[in-house]
Each structure stands twice: as C-alpha cells, then as structure tokens.
C-alpha cells in the first residue's frame, strides 16, 4: 500500500520530538451493501475510506493524528501533529528501518465479493423476502440486508515491525414483523463470516429468512415475561453475549490497569465454577472476529482467559503489554484509521462441557430458556451487566413451555460465573456481533454450548 522508504521517513518525523515509539496504520476499506424493505430492493450503497493514523508514544502519553491524504506531505503533516501532541523531552533524529519482522497475510476469501455481480447480491434479498412471507400470513413486513467489506491494512512501527492483512467480511440479515391480535412482534436472524461470497454456499438465505419469520410469529403468542430471580438456560451459540458482558470486558488489560474491573488483581484465583473455560481466539478462520494480524500488527492468538474456573490471563494490546514487559496477546483493535487502538475481544467462547443439553433442560424444575440473545452492556467496575432475550420460553417441570415477550436479564459478572452449574456438549458459534466499547465498533464473534445459570434476574412484567 505504501513503500518502506516513505514509511521510514514518516516514522522518523513522528519520532523527531523524542518519542520512544511511533506507529503508522494505513487502511483502505471498500464497503458495499444492498437493502430490501417493504417488498422492494430499495437501495445499494458503496463506499470507500482510505487513510492513515499515526501514533506517537512518549512515556505514558500518546499523541494521535490521522489523515486521508496518503502523500508524503499528508503523512508528514499527520506525523508532526501526533509528535507535537505527545511532546517528548529529547528531540533529535532517529532513523527507522521497518521490515525486520512482521507478517504479510493475503485475503483468504475464495470468492471476493467485489467480483460478484450486483444482480446476484440483489437476488439473495428477493429470495429472503419471498421465503419469509411464505411462512405465514402473519408476516407483515420483511427487511433484508446484504453487506460486504474488504479492509486492507498495513502496520509499521519504530520497533521495525511491518505487517499487512487483507480482511474480507460478508454479512446477511433478515428482520421480520408479524402482526396478530396481540399487536406487532419482530424476529431477526443474521450470519456473518470473515470470508467472501462463498458464505452463501454454506448458508441458505431461505432457511435464515424462515427462521426469522417463525421467530416473529412465535412471539405473537408470547406471554409477559416473568419477573424476579430464577434459573436460566441459554441455548447453544447464544450464550456468548452473556460471557462477553459478564467477564469478557472485565478481562481487558486497559480497564484492569485502571482498576476499573472487578477482575483486577485476581489472576490465579478461582473466579468461576470448574465447568467454565473461557477462550478468546482471533485465529478461528472464517469467524466474524477473525483476522491474521490485529490493528497493531500483532498476529492473532488463541488466548485461554479462564481455565476450568481459574483466571489465567487478561487480554492485552501493545501499550499495556509494553508497560508490563510482556507480549501483546493480539487484542489491539480499532474501528478505523481514525481511531486509536485499544484492548478488544475477537471471538470469545466457552468450550464444551460434558452435559447432555436435554438433561440440562429436564433438570430445570422451573425457569427460563433463552434461545436467542440480543445485545448487552456491562459496567466493568461493578460487574453488573444486562443482556436482552429476543427469543425465550418458560421452563416448567423440566420442559420448554410457552414463549415469553422480549426483555432484559440482569446479573453481576463475578457472581454469575460462580453460578454456572451445567455446561453442555453442543458447542456452537452465535450470530455476528459488533462490540461498541468506547464508541468504537469492531466485529466480534462468540459461542457457547447450552448452559445453565442457577440464578439471573428476569426483567419481565408478570408477577
């Protein structure tokens, strides 16, 4: 994307005020999407974002500037602004030679979406619309969205690192509204992978559309959700959001360093029941949170965070790792070249347990079964977290019963980890997610087998 010599000169400029570390992050991202709503392909959108972010570190201070101008002048200008912002003591000249280490990864997509005709993409939308409406007369509205992106990045820093990646992602979602005597209800399904258009060889959009339609129709007969504290069984795939919120964010080293996490200072402790092994893994090829290198040029890694209930490590980016004199764990990510990187999750999951999922349900006298979770939110300093249930049922006498209406569940991370009392053997990845830490959105994946939490608070209206 840029030649080594230009990068070396830019880094030298960035270091000219005495900084100990400088980094150039170059990004060229092309996106395209197509939207169907109200029975019609409404709009196709395409866009391009290209630019560089320059980071300069002096002591504990980071200076950052970005530019969409990738010429020598544009880069030098941004480098000076970033260097002035960090303002080191020394000054002087330091030459940099990048390329001593780092990897260059190519795209892994078999069918680059940009090579696929727009008519083919549009046809997927029409098929999803027809299939969803065919499920039943209650389906009153359907929206479907296709999206793809190709993000080429280059990271070079004053340690000599030079790394590149070419990340291709493809996404498809269907949202349905069903209308009945009880009003309106919604159902949504989505699939997203870090692969190309071959996504649609392994995913049938018709099936996806039918699932979304059925979900909306099922909820028309939903009862008000219960209120109060009770056992909750989360179905395969869905529970990842729970762990993302209940402990994932609390294991991010930037929050830990500020003691803004209930998990600070607890490495080596039993923080969860022995059934829980929590892993964050950017290497999972094809998954939504996958990449070859993170946005600081570090290779993706498989990181065990909780091993059979014992907290083993946090997640790290370059800055926090450097301070601790340890390597980054490949969790330094950013939304775009316009943002500073920070510690972020990739694909976060609970590995398989030994329980039969049917036994987990039948062993629950009364409670709630959550088949699909919505988003969530956590306060890492207190550990209190919420997540939404977008498809859920009552469990009565060990059997899944009536559907219940949408609502939030609330719990406390450290407490919830100690209340995981059953973990199934039916591991599945969940839906593609966007994590919005500090206002920066990055794609994340998650997964779990079926599991049961002894007690969570259900935010319903029924007594």
């Amino acid at each position: 994307m840029l030649d080594h010599e230009l990068i070396n000169r830019t880094l030298s400029t960035a270091l000219s005020t005495g900084a100990e570390f400088a980094e150039v992050f170059v990004e060229d991202k092309k996106s395209s999407s197509a939207m169907l709503d109200d029975g019609r392909v409404e709009e196709l959108t395409s866009g391009r974002d290209r630019g560089a972010g320059i980071r300069v570190v002096v002591g504990d201070t980071t200076g950052f500037a970005h530019t969409a101008d990738l010429s020598e002048t544009g880069l030098a200008g941004a480098a000076k602004v970033a260097a002035a912002a960090a303002r080191g003591g020394g000054g002087g000249t330091r030459t940099v030679s990048v390329g001593s280490h780092g990897i260059s990864a190519g795209a892994t997509a078999q069918v680059p979406p940009e090579d696929v005709a727009k008519t083919v993409k549009v046809e997927l939308l029409a098929r999803a619309d027809a299939e969803a409406r065919a499920v039943g007369p209650q389906v009153s509205q359907v929206a479907a969205r296709y999206g793809d992106s190709r993000r080429r990045i280059l990271v070079a820093n004053s340690d000599g690192l030079f790394a590149e990646d070419d990340q291709i992602r493809t996404l498809f979602s269907v949202s349905c509204v069903a209308t009945g005597d009880t009003g309106l209800q919604t159902g949504r399904e989505s699939v997203g992978r870090t692969i190309g258009f071959e996504l649609f060889e392994e995913t049938d959009v018709s099936e996806l559309a039918r699932r979304a339609a059925n979900r909306a129709i099922t909820k028309l007969s939903a009862r008000p959700a219960p209120s109060g504290t009770m056992p909750v069984v989360v179905g395969p795939g869905g529970g990842g959001v729970l762990f993302h919120e209940a402990c994932g964010h609390g294991l991010e080293a930037d929050l830990v360093a500020k003691s803004a996490s209930v998990f600070a200072g607890r490495v080596g402790e039993q923080v969860a029941t022995p059934l829980v092994t929590l892993i964050d893994d950017g290497t999972m090829a094809g998954e939504w949170g996958h990449f070859a290198i993170d946005d600081e040029g570090r290779e993706a890694a498989h990181n065990v965070l909780i091993d059979r209930g014992v907290l083993t490590d946090y997640m790290w980016d370059h800055l926090r790792a450097r301070k601790q004199g340890r390597p980054s764990s490949g969790n330094g990510r950013r939304q775009s070249y316009q943002h500073l990187p920070m510690v972020r999750m990739t694909n976060t999951y609970i590995s398989n347990g030994e329980d039969d999922p049917d036994d987990i349900i039948s062993g629950t006298e009364s409670g709630v079964y959550v088949a699909q979770l919505g988003g969530g939110q956590v306060n890492t300093a207190t550990g209190d977290f919420v997540f939404g249930m977008t498809e859920a049922y009552l469990i009565e006498n060990g059997e899944i019963g009536d559907p219940i209406r949408q609502g939030n569940l609330i719990g406390n991370g450290p407490e919830t980890l100690k209340l995981i009392e059953a973990v199934g053997n039916d591991f599945a990845m969940g839906s593609p997610g966007t994590c919005g830490k500090d206002g920066q959105g990055v794609p994340v994946g998650d997964g779990t087998p079926t599991l049961r939490v002894k007690a969570l608070t259900i935010g319903g209206t029924a007594a």
Partner: protein, 455 residues
C-alpha cells in the same frame, strides 16, 4: 483538496453544487459534503494519557433515476474521488427496484431559522488550555469526595463541523457548528464495594465549560449508590430522572417516524387523533430551539427544520416526515430528514424532543409518593426495548422512595412495562426541563404500576 482550516461553507457548498450539477437529464442528484475537526484530550494521573487531533472529510451522493435510488460515499474530498462517487451511486441505482415516491427533496419555500451555532472563540482556545482543562477535570473529580478512589476517564473534547447540501432540484444549504464538552467517569469505593458515576459539562464554546459541575456530578452519582442492595421484586411507582426520561423520549420519537408507520413497524399507525397518552402529555420535536444541543436550521435533505407537535394533550397529532415519506403519505415534509454523517442516505427521525413541563419540582413529586423508586440510570435500552412491539425492559439503578422521602440505594434490578402503557400510566411531569447531550430534553416523569424485578 481543501485546506485544514481554510475550508469554509462556501468551499464545501461549491463542491456540493459542482457535483450536483453533473446530474444527467432525467436524473436527480443530492450531494452532502462534510468536514469535521476534532480534538480529544484524555487525562490520567495528572498527565495527558492521549491527545488526538483529527480532521475528517467526506462526500455522500444519492442518485435517483427512473424511481430507482443508489448511494455512494467516499471519506475524502479529493477532486479525483468526487466523480467516482457519483458514478458509483449512479451504478448502484440501476440495481435497485423503482419506487414512485423516490426522489430528493424539492425546495418548499420555508426559510430556515437564523441562528449561530458556531462559537469562534474555539479558534483561539490553545492546545495548552485544552490539556489544562482535562487535567483539572481529573484532579477535581478525584478531590470531589474522599470516597472517590479512581477515575476511568477524564476528557476534554471539541468539534467543529461544517456541511453543505446541494441537489439538482435547486436546494442549497450550509450549516456549521462548534461543540465542546468535558466528561468524567468516577469510581467511588467503600467497604470493598465500587460504584461508578459520570459527570459532564457541554457548551458551544470552551468559555462556558464548568469543570466543577462535571466533577461534582460524577462524584455525586458514584457515591450515592454505595451500599446499594438488590431489592425484592414489586410493582411500584417510579420517578424517572430527567436523563432517563430523555432516553425514553428518544425511543418514542422513533415510533413516530413516518417511515416506521408506513412500513408497519409502529404501534402508533392509524391512531392519529386518538388519545395515546395522559392529558398532560404534550410532545414537541423542534430543532429550531437553539437551547437544544442538537439544534439545526436545516434537516438532512437541506430543508428548513420546523416545530412539529407530535402528541398534544395526550392526542396523537401526526408523524415526522422526510421528502420520501411525505410523498408516500401524500403530505409535506416536516423537515425531519436525519443523517448520520456522509456514509448513508438520509432517513427520518426526531431531532430535538421535549415534553411540556409540569409545575412540581422533583422533590415535590417524590414527597407525594408513599412507596416508589427514583430511577437514576438505565442500561441495555438497546437490547431490552422493542420499539415495534412496545415491550420495555431495562436494567436500572437508583434510590427507593419511602413515605415521601428518598431512602436506600438499589442496584441489579430491571424495570419493565410497555411503551404503550407507560404513556397512559404517567401521573406527573416535573418542572425541571433541561436539555441534555442527546436529541431530547429531560424532565422528571412519574409513572405508576411499573414492575421492578429484583430478588
């Protein structure tokens, strides 16, 4: 290429007009051009943790041809990107299906209000001053209460946004505004327990920023929840703090968009003229109110914004429209086209919602409640509220109200109802109307019969 600081409305409008002028015959083109300068200073332990200086520019082009709509954008105003973006949008339009109501806005003769949202004193506010404010904010937050044990973040942010819209139908509009804010997240500790709270101060220019206000508010919010416990589940009367009410209004505003109504995604469809809320409930969306931080003279399609009464004395008056939903609904645009930057075509939505305030202070409202809950913060509105069905469930924290007085703090609870019921269960609206950094004003709101779910 536009210069960093030399760019003015005229230059942006020139670009927009030039690109709109490239429209083919029989084709409509709308061009949105924006430039934003931002400075962000984060302080930590008495020093600068990070200093970000950002300038971003972009263009978004909408093409409507034979009723088909296409959109494209580029994160640059480099002259080579302008034509390319138009060509992309044109190509995209060819693959969409036609809709007779598609089109860009037409001039409607309504003059935009004249107000100045641009505080030029920001130009003279030095980097050192910005750094000093952030550092001072952290120091004040830490010193605001001896139980404050740390901060998650303390930051100073300023932005300078300019934009222009031009269409092949003859619309030209420009806007520019500045904004500055201080925001701090404090952590309070007592007996091994941690609670957090945020505080802020916002204004158009740096002169009015109030470090003390932001710091004490953060400390107050963090400390008042210390010792909070999880209460028993019960149905009770809740008082929503202005901050919470404003978030609720934002969700209700979404259900009043003409788009949601026309596409069968609003429970308000077909209910114009009906009583949907209690008599005291008067909801106005008015981006011409300069007190609103989201005030704007023009909407996302370049039409003048105007006051829109949505619910008056509890009776549904109508919906918000952009030019598309207006044509489709055989009505006029209400100047309610909204856009989130240059990366997407304008949608329709509320811009500055406010309830007509009542006559009692929050303290007086609380004094009239025997058994209740003052809700000071909510979490997970995006996951627990469904604006289509109206289901409303959110994580909450606050203080119990007992015999007319504030009592113990509570946490790890949810409050739940439906949006439809909440509007009919409101018993009082406070007199404490205040504009907040979102597209709605807050006011204390008393709602009866809300389920509080706890232990």
């Amino acid at each position: 290429m536009a210069e960093t600081n030399g760019s003015t409305n005229t230059e942006l409008l020139d670009i927009a007009t030039r690109v709109a002028g490239w429209a083919d015959s029989g084709e409509q083109v709308e061009v949105f051009v924006a430039e934003e300068l931002e400075t962000e200073v984060r302080a930590y332990q008495g020093a600068v943790e990070s200093f970000t200086s950002a300038r971003s520019q972009g263009i978004g082009v909408r093409v409507v041809s034979n009723g088909r709509q296409g959109y494209a954008y580029a994160g640059t105003l480099d002259s080579s990107a302008l034509l390319e973006t138009l060509l992309q949008a044109r190509d995209n339009a060819a693959f969409a299906e036609p809709d007779e109501f598609n089109g860009v806005a037409q001039p409607d003769g309504v003059d935009p209000v004249e107000f100045d949202l641009f505080d030029s004193s920001l130009d003279d506010f030095s980097t050192d001053d910005k750094v000093a404010l952030a550092v001072e904010l952290e120091r004040c937050t830490l010193g605001a209460d001896q139980r404050i044990a740390g901060i998650e973040s303390a930051e100073y942010v300023d932005t300078r946004c300019e934009s222009a819209i031009a269409t092949s139908t003859g619309i030209t509009s420009t806007s520019r505004e500045t904004g500055c804010y201080l925001a701090t997240y404090a952590m309070a500790e007592a007996d091994g327990e941690t609670q957090t709270g945020f505080g802020y101060s916002i204004s158009r220019g740096p002169g009015a920023l109030d470090v003390e206000l932001a710091a004490t508010e953060a400390a107050e919010r963090a400390t008042r929840l210390l010792g909070a416990t999880k209460p028993q589940t019960s149905k009770l009367t809740v008082v929503l703090d202005p901050w919470v009410t404003a978030q609720l209004l934002g969700i209700i505003g979404g259900t009043l968009s003409g788009d949601a109504v026309q596409r069968g995604r609003s429970f308000f469809a077909d209910r114009v003229g009906e009583q949907v809320a209690v008599d005291d409930f008067c909801l106005l969306d008015d981006a011409t109110n300069i007190d609103a931080f989201t005030a704007s003279a023009v909407d996302g399609e370049g039409l003048a914004t105007r006051p829109n009464s949505l619910i008056d004395s509890g009776v549904l008056q109508g919906f918000l429209h952009n030019s598309y939903t207006a044509r489709r609904g055989a009505t006029s645009s209400t100047g309610s086209a909204v856009r989130a930057g240059f990366k997407g075509a304008p949608g329709v939505g509320s811009q500055a919602l406010a309830l007509r305030p009542g006559t009692h202070s929050q303290q007086e409202l609380i004094a009239s409640i025997d058994d209740g809950l003052l809700v000071q913060g909510v979490t997970g509105l995006h996951s627990g509220v469904n604006p289509v069905s109206g289901d409303f469930s959110t994580g909450a924290e606050g203080l119990r109200i007992r015999k007319g007085a504030l009592a113990e703090p509570v946490r790890e609870i949810t409050i739940a109802s439906t949006l439809q019921r909440i509007l009919l269960d409101i018993t009082e609206i406070g007199d404490d109307l205040q504009w907040l950094p979102m597209s709605a004003a807050g006011v204390s709101l008393v709602v009866a019969d809300v389920m509080m779910s706890g232990a």
